[in-house]
């Protein structure tokens, strides 16, 4: 519609605003100079090479992945029962429980981080407990605590939309409680569960506030990058950022396919 061109132009500008910084980072990852300055000179992959040999980055990436995986496991094991409990069980204090579960999602991460730090310190639990097998129990529990809420809310929202008559039909057809859950309820929430798991994984990888306060000796990837940033920008950071961007795009494509359900 011709008369809407101001709207289109404005929207295009907003789009550009949203993508410009990312484009800059990606482009500068191929910048030939080692100082990140204007003008941009494209033409090299050497920063990716530097990245591949950066021990610190590599071990931080590994730690991040490990942590994220454990966060997903905890979040699913606690979050799925949590969602069912919210959907189907009445108990005293349910409203409080519901609010409490939402807190880590709506509060600034730093509050959850310092709360957990004080907690573990009070309990005299060392931040390095469990190192080097895992990045440390406190940080694992911290991620689990903060991210369980994601699974609870996503699965709960899906459960609310489940057609109860399907479960009645299953019972009518000789399936007991467990089999109804396994054959009928679970497949129905499967995509919400996978989506939530993916979301937890991504959020855990990017988590900074809680991680900073609870990490022991090992750095996670965001903390490692941040450490580099505080000392001054190196082009290597552009390379790792570009990789993160590429992976994120892949993740969201997968996630949106799941959410089409």
């Amino acid at each position: 519609m011709k008369r809407d061109w101001p709207l289109y132009a404005y929207s295009a500008a907003v789009f550009a605003f949203i993508y410009l910084p990312l484009a800059v980072v990606v482009l500068y990852s191929f910048h030939t100079e080692s100082i990140i300055a204007w003008p941009l000179k494209l033409g090299t992959l050497k920063w990716y090479g530097v990245l591949a040999h950066d021990r610190g980055m590599l071990s931080a990436t590994w730690a991040s992945l490990e942590l994220a995986l454990m966060a997903v496991v905890i979040a699913v094991l606690v979050g799925v029962p949590g969602a069912f409990v919210l959907d189907r069980v009445e108990f005293p204090g349910k409203a409080a429980f519901r609010q409490l579960v939402l807190l880590p999602l709506i509060l600034p991460g730093i509050i959850t981080g310092v709360a957990l730090l004080s907690y573990f310190s009070f309990l005299h639990v060392s931040l390095s407990a469990g190192y080097p097998a895992i990045p440390g129990w406190p940080v694992v529990i911290g991620h689990g605590a903060a991210l369980t809420s994601v699974v609870v809310t996503q699965v709960f929202a899906r459960l609310q939309r489940v057609d109860r008559s399907l479960e009645e039909a299953s019972a009518d057809l000789y399936a007991n409680g467990w089999r109804t859950f396994w054959y009928v309820t679970l497949p129905t929430i499967r995509t919400a569960l996978l989506g939530a798991g993916l979301l937890v994984f991504t959020l855990s990888l990017d988590e900074i506030a809680v991680t900073f306060f609870l990490i022991g000796r090992q750095n996670t990837l965001p903390l490692q990058i941040w450490g580099v940033l505080r000392r001054g920008i190196t082009p290597e950071v552009n390379a790792i950022s570009t990789l993160i961007f590429a992976v994120s795009v892949g993740v969201i494509v997968i996630w949106s396919r799941l959410m089409e359900d």
Binding site: L7, Y8, Y10, S11, V14, F15, F17, I18, P21, L22, V24, V25, Y28, I36, A37, W38, P39, V78, P81, G82, F84, V85, F91, F97, L100, L103, P104, I106, L107, P108, G109, I110, I111, T112, V114, A115, S118, Y119, A145, V152, N176, G177, W178, T202, D206, I208, F213, P222, W226, L229, I233, S241, I244, F245, S248, V249, V251, I252, W255, S256
Partner: protein
């Protein structure tokens, strides 16, 4: 039927409840309690009840002024995000047919990219040797690098707006999408032109989404600590979370940090509660 499963239901209910109690309820409660403690000489908090932290908090100008400053930043970010996201949401909801899903995804993708990457990108753009300065010099508008872009409140606001605009857009888009087309058609059938239809029909019905989006943007940017650290400079643009950060870090006064956290927590919860109350009023049109 329920009786056979009862023990399992109890276990299944207990797991999340116990977990949340142990890993969320107790830590937050401890934070509250700790705000009433005193930082002892040996660096560990002493467990005696005192209101000194709160006295300091409200008495020293640093803390209230930082909170106000943070609120100011958050307000600017919220307004900017709203101004940017509403038209785009409107376009996606009403003017795009074919690639709607794809475009919406395109807007959401940046949300999934590391927050750190997105904040850091602005360092490259706004820095003394950054893109903006480079372009301005190339065009000839300025002859030497402008320093005030980076390490300023403006930089923080810009970066936070960039980060939270998709957050604001999502609920607005969702609400706009859910307005039945027949309502807008009815308005036009009754002699309302496009603008009137927007003002009298679309806009009021979209208010719940606007409220949700603005609440997200405000609460999230007020509690932000990374953007101010990277882009704000060390003295001029510190926000509340940076204070908490240093109190639990270098300045090492955990009880005071806990007190500031409690204040922030209270503010956040109050804002959300207010938004919740305003919700039904915004929704009364539906």
């Amino acid at each position: 039927m329920a009786d056979r499963r009862r023990p399992w239901i109890l276990v299944g209910t207990a797991i999340p409840l116990v977990w949340v109690a142990l890993t969320l309820l107790l830590p937050y409660a401890l934070l509250l309690i700790q705000s009433f403690w005193h930082q002892g000489p040996n660096g560990r908090p002493t467990h005696e009840f005192t209101l000194a932290n709160y006295a300091r908090l409200f008495g020293t100008s640093l803390y209230p002024s930082t909170i106000l400053y943070s609120a100011g930043v958050a307000l600017r970010v919220t307004v900017a995000s709203l101004v940017l996201s509403y038209p785009l949401a409107y376009l996606l909801a009403f003017k795009v047919q074919r690639h709607k899903q794809l475009l919406y995804m395109a807007v959401i993708i940046p949300l999934w990219v590391s927050y750190l990457v997105r904040a850091y990108a602005w360092k490259i753009i706004l820095g003394q040797q950054g893109v903006v300065n480079g372009v301005l010099q190339a065009i000839g508008i300025v002859h030497e690098p402008v320093t005030f872009f980076l390490y300023s409140t403006a930089a923080v606001v810009i970066a936070l707006t960039h980060i939270y605009t998709p957050f604001t857009l999502m609920p607005i888009y969702a609400v706009l999408e859910s307005i039945p087309p027949s309502l807008r058609e009815a308005s036009q059938d009754l002699y309302g032109n496009r603008w009137r239809t927007f003002i009298h029909v679309t806009l009021p019905l979209s208010l719940p989404g606007v409220l949700a989006g603005c609440t997200f943007a405000f609460v999230l940017s007020m509690g932000d600590f990374l953007a101010p650290q990277l882009l704000g400079g060390n003295d001029s643009a510190l926000m509340v979370s940076n204070l908490v950060w240093s109190l639990f870090g270098v300045s090492s006064d955990w009880p005071l940090g806990a007190a500031v956290s409690v204040v922030m927590l209270t503010l956040t919860l109050t804002l959300l509660w207010l938004a919740n109350r305003a919700g039904p009023a915004a929704r009364k049109y539906r």
